[in-house]
């Protein structure tokens, strides 16, 4: 699920975002206050996260800056196990006295809840890693780039979009920096500095006579990178049919806005789709969301076990299917990997929010379901001794829980470009970009739209289509996977604000894939007359 844009923190002046956080030695002393206070109150396990979360969000429309949000959030979250039950409390008062009191509150909550608990929490062991640190390998810290330079970029994006036929345009930049200090009674003291970036826009076209309007969103991807993502390097551009461009690890926002304005005008007069079965050629900037919803979420072990039953739902990928070691999630071409390590991704960190080092593991191997995503209090259920390291909290005041790592479809081993792939399609649709999306609570039945749809007839693109959405069943869909482009076409899609949990928390996650072909998928027409 994708949440609305959350601002977590207090508005501050932009230069405050450049101030260094508290020294690591001070944080260690404060963390020890929490660990000792909880232990003396009866906690058998404690972890503490001292977090400084920085955000800069910029919103513009046409030639106006609508809003610039500079936010800082600083505080401490303490999680304890007492009598086999979790307790959690948080405070923005980062002083030894307040931290000790907060630890007592967490213990009191655990004790109150222990009365209604019958099954004690069991944590997979994690050896302490001592005092360590990790940083996102950025080249340009986005928070150090002057606000005026960023405003100038967005104004250029907007003016090019308007010049090329857009009636309206909004453009945004989102920058996030998580400065997280984690300590636990296992003996870990982990300092991390994590950066993320998301440039995006929407161009609208309006026909005032007919009252018809259309939009085209950016085909950028949010990334675990610094401002260098906006360099627009030619070497990172992947040419595609009809003048389309795929962006790998460098994005040309002005070029994409110019293309978007031309394409959104074309959308106003595009042919409405004839419903039926089509072979779909799905661009990575579209397929990433399908992977997210139909593979990422159903392989979350907490969903499989029922911990999310009241909100996000459960999963069709049940333990009995996994235990057969032969459950055909997809065709033999389908190899899907989970990781917290791929460079430039939103999921890349050194350690998760319960002190587990980052890993990579298979979820689907040669089409067969082989594993899940699990954290310390669940992994024993699938017979493993170590957590996968995918526990995350979106703020110091949120409790950490299982969140999706990067989940990516491996590229094909045969040499193949998107041009080669389209040549082989008789009746198909080439889909680019993220559109409307919906999937049931066990992840069987889904419906996806997109930003751009092109009709393919006898190996050629014949024109743009409108009113396209495809409906399928997860297992049927992945078993219809017929062809993959190679590693030169492999790119990231990202979700910057993925929502899960109660109270709802956001997380950021990437999904890599090559352009991929799926045969005989059901396409519906979404046009209506009112």
């Amino acid at each position: 699920m994708t949440a609305s844009i959350p601002v977590l923190g207090n508005m501050v002046a932009p230069e405050l975002l450049l101030e260094p956080g508290v020294d690591t030695a001070v944080k260690k002393r404060l963390a020890d206050v929490a660990l000792n206070a909880a232990k003396s109150q009866g906690a058998t396990y404690t972890d503490v996260r001292i977090g400084r979360y920085l955000q800069q969000f910029m919103f513009t429309r046409e030639q106006k800056v609508q809003n610039i949000v500079n936010a800082e959030s600083y505080g401490v979250g303490i999680r304890v196990i007492v009598d086999g039950t979790w307790g959690f409390a948080a405070t923005s008062d980062v002083t030894p006295d307040a931290i000790a009191k907060c630890a007592q509150t967490a213990v009191a909550i655990a004790k109150a809840n222990a009365r209604v608990q019958t099954e004690p929490v069991v944590l997979a062991p994690q050896k302490g890693v001592g005092e360590v640190s990790w940083k996102t390998p950025i080249q340009k810290n986005a928070f150090e780039i002057p606000v005026q330079q960023k405003v100038d970029l967005l104004m250029k994006v907007n003016s090019e979009a308007m010049k090329n036929g857009g009636a309206f345009v909004t453009s945004n930049l989102f920058f996030v920096n998580e400065q997280k200090y984690f300590a636990s009674t296992d003996g870990s003291y982990i300092d991390q500095d994590i950066h993320r970036i998301w440039p995006t826009f929407t161009v609208s076209a309006v026909d005032r006579v007919t009252g018809k309007f259309k939009t085209r969103d950016a085909i950028s991807s949010p990334m675990g990178m610094g401002y260098e993502y906006l360099d627009g390097l030619t070497t990172e551009k992947i040419p595609a049919p009809n003048g389309l461009v795929g962006y790998r690890n460098s994005y040309d926002m002005v070029e994409d806005a110019t293309l978007a304005a031309k394409q959104v005008k074309e959308k106003l007069t595009a042919k409405t789709v004839q419903p039926g079965k089509y072979d779909l050629v799905l661009d990575p900037n579209h397929l990433g969301l399908t992977i997210h919803e139909s593979v990422g979420h159903p392989t979350e072990l907490d969903r499989v076990l029922g911990y999310e039953a009241n909100y996000a739902g459960t999963s069709f990928a049940t333990l009995d299917k996994w235990k057969t070691k032969s459950f055909k999630y997809g065709s033999p071409l389908v190899n899907i990997v989970a990781d917290k390590k791929q460079p430039h991704t939103l999921g890349a960190v050194g350690y998760d929010d319960e002190g587990v080092p980052s890993k990579e593991w298979n979820l689907i191997k040669d089409g067969v379901l082989v594993n899940y995503q699990a954290i310390r209090d669940q992994v024993a259920i699938i017979g493993e001794k170590e957590s996968h390291g995918c526990c995350y909290a979106d703020n110091w005041n949120s409790v950490q829980f299982q969140r999706m790592p990067n989940v990516s479809l491996k590229a094909g081993s045969e040499k193949r470009s998107v041009f080669d792939m389209i040549k082989g399609v008789e009746k198909g649709i080439y889909i680019i970009g993220r559109g409307s999306y919906s999937i049931d609570q066990q992840r069987y039945n889904f419906q996806f739209g997109g930003q751009l749809f092109y009709e393919i007839k006898n190996g050629e693109i014949t024109g743009m289509l409108d009113d396209v959405a495809y409906q399928s069943n997860t297992q049927e869909f992945w078993n219809s996977c017929a062809q993959l482009c190679d590693k030169d076409d492999y790119r990231m899609f990202g979700s910057f604000f993925d929502g899960k949990g109660q109270p709802s928390q956001v997380s950021a996650v990437s999904h890599g894939s090559p352009t991929t072909r799926f045969n005989g998928v059901n396409v519906i027409n979404t046009g209506r007359k009112i």
């Binding site: 501050v12 809840n113 009365r115 209604v116 309006v206 919906s438 039945n445």
Partner: protein, 445 residues
């Protein structure tokens, strides 16, 4: 200083903040809140937490140059610092052509959304309420996953033109999903109140348990167009997409359902059945809401759709000034009038139809027609000759709430309901709709 300030404490603090101001105009918003929650799944407590939050936002303006700064420390030095910082930001900012200045003093309606009962909930009380629910699901050998969250807080504002506003409120939300052990049946209930003494977790749990047991062994029937009875929990997640689109500027700019051919908006047009009336009223006792908006505009009783006709769209103060219209703010609550029919009456009068108790993962497919997609969930039932015959497998639908309200058969008695999509509460009736479009089947339970 306490987290939750009384009206006089808030007034004194805001006056002190304004006394530091050297700007042409200054406006200060203040909030404080305490939240507590308890989550459970697989009939066991899973996570829980507590959170306190206080915040002061200062907006300073020199002409049309505006700066905003925020702080969560309220000592004198911090208060002066945040005012200076907002003034520095304003001096550096480009002119905002859409800045229209702050409002003078306003008169607000009376609305009581604060209840001591909710403000005094403790971790022990939360655990007790959840225990009542767990005892029932455990005894019936059903599996429960639920979430209880209470909140107590206040908002206040003051500006250099003499406007002052204060509103304390409390809220509690309880949601619960109960499943059969074989995962063949699932039932849901959601309850939201300002006054926690109205929350009966045991009674709510009974409803979810009945739906879980009743929905097991669902049969597949063909997708297509059906008469549906939507319980309020199902109806509200469709209707709120109409409310989201009622912004005058988007309509005037030609990029909303509320725009129409020829460059005009649908303001004044009849868009749905004449039995549909939707309004907002902060003083409604069943759904109290703040009588003022964040920019100090009064929330009045406002008709949005009356007898099927669009009566108002919401305007920013800038857009209203530009268009020469009244600056009607976005509503703080939404109430839809209904009839007198009970859900049972509506079932009895149905020859062939589907009872939908909850909808899930609602997304807009086409903003031009507010076409939405999503699925039924946690209890869907086939009705024949006035009786529920059997549970049916879940459907995906593609339908517009505008088309739906043109195909209206009956409206029932409105009740307070919590949206499972937005977490907002509304007063909405159950409704019977003909020709509702289901497009495919789902195996999900």
């Amino acid at each position: 200083m306490a987290i939750i300030l009384t009206e006089s404490e808030a007034k004194a603090l805001l006056q002190k903040v304004l006394s530091y101001s050297k700007a042409d105009e200054c406006e200060v918003n203040l909030l404080g809140e305490e939240r507590g929650n308890l989550r459970y799944a697989r009939n066991e407590v899973s996570t829980s937490g507590s959170l306190i939050n206080k915040n002061l936002v200062v907006q300073s303006a020199f002409g049309k140059k505006v700066g905003v700064a925020t702080i969560d420390e309220f000592d004198d030095a911090s208060l002066e610092k945040v005012v200076r910082r907002s003034e520095e930001l304003a001096q550096l900012a480009p002119e905002n052509p859409e800045y229209v200045g702050v409002l003078g003093p306003q008169q607000y309606m009376k609305s009581n959304g604060f209840f001591d009962s909710t403000a005094t909930v403790t971790p022990d009380k939360r655990a007790e309420a959840v225990d009542k629910s767990l005892q029932l699901s455990r005894a019936a050998k059903l599996t429960a996953a639920g979430f209880l969250e209470d909140q107590y807080g206040y908002n206040a504002m003051m500006n250099s033109k003499g406007l002052f506003a204060y509103y304390p409120s409390t809220n509690v939300n309880f949601t619960l999903t109960v499943r059969t052990p074989d995962s063949k049946g699932s039932g849901y209930v959601a309850r939201g109140y300002s006054d926690v003494s109205k929350l009966d977790t045991a009674a709510a749990t009974q409803i979810a348990m009945q739906k879980a047991q009743g929905s097991a062994e669902a049969r597949a029937i063909e997708p297509g167009k059906y008469t549906v009875i939507l319980e309020p929990t199902a109806a509200v997640v469709l209707l709120e997409n109409i409310f989201y689109n009622m912004d005058a500027r988007s309509a005037d700019e030609g990029r909303s359902y509320f725009s129409k051919s020829g460059g005009k908006s649908r303001l004044g047009d009849k868009i749905v059945d004449e039995r549909v009336t939707i309004y907002s009223d902060p003083a409604n006792a069943d759904l109290p809401a703040s009588p003022w908006s964040g920019d100090g505009r009064p929330q009045e009783k406002t008709m949005w759709i009356e007898k099927g006709v669009v009566k108002n769209l919401s305007y920013s103060r800038y857009w209203a000034q530009k268009q020469g219209k009244k600056a009607v703010p976005n509503p703080n609550n939404i109430i839809m009038t209904g009839g007198t029919a009970s859900l049972e009456d509506m079932i009895k009068s149905t020859q062939r139809g589907i009872l939908v108790t909850k909808l899930w993962y609602i997304r807009e497919v086409d903003p031009q027609t507010i076409l939405l997609t999503g699925l039924t969930r946690d209890g869907t039932f086939y009705i024949e000759n006035g009786k529920i015959k059997f549970p049916v497998k879940n459907f995906r639908f593609n339908e517009s709430p505008v088309i739906m309200l043109n195909n209206l058969e009956t409206l029932g008695k409105p009740e307070r309901v919590l949206s499972t999509e937005s977490n907002q509460s509304y007063l909405i009736p159950p409704m019977k709709i003909r020709e509702f479009t289901f497009t495919s089947l789902s195996d999900a339970v």
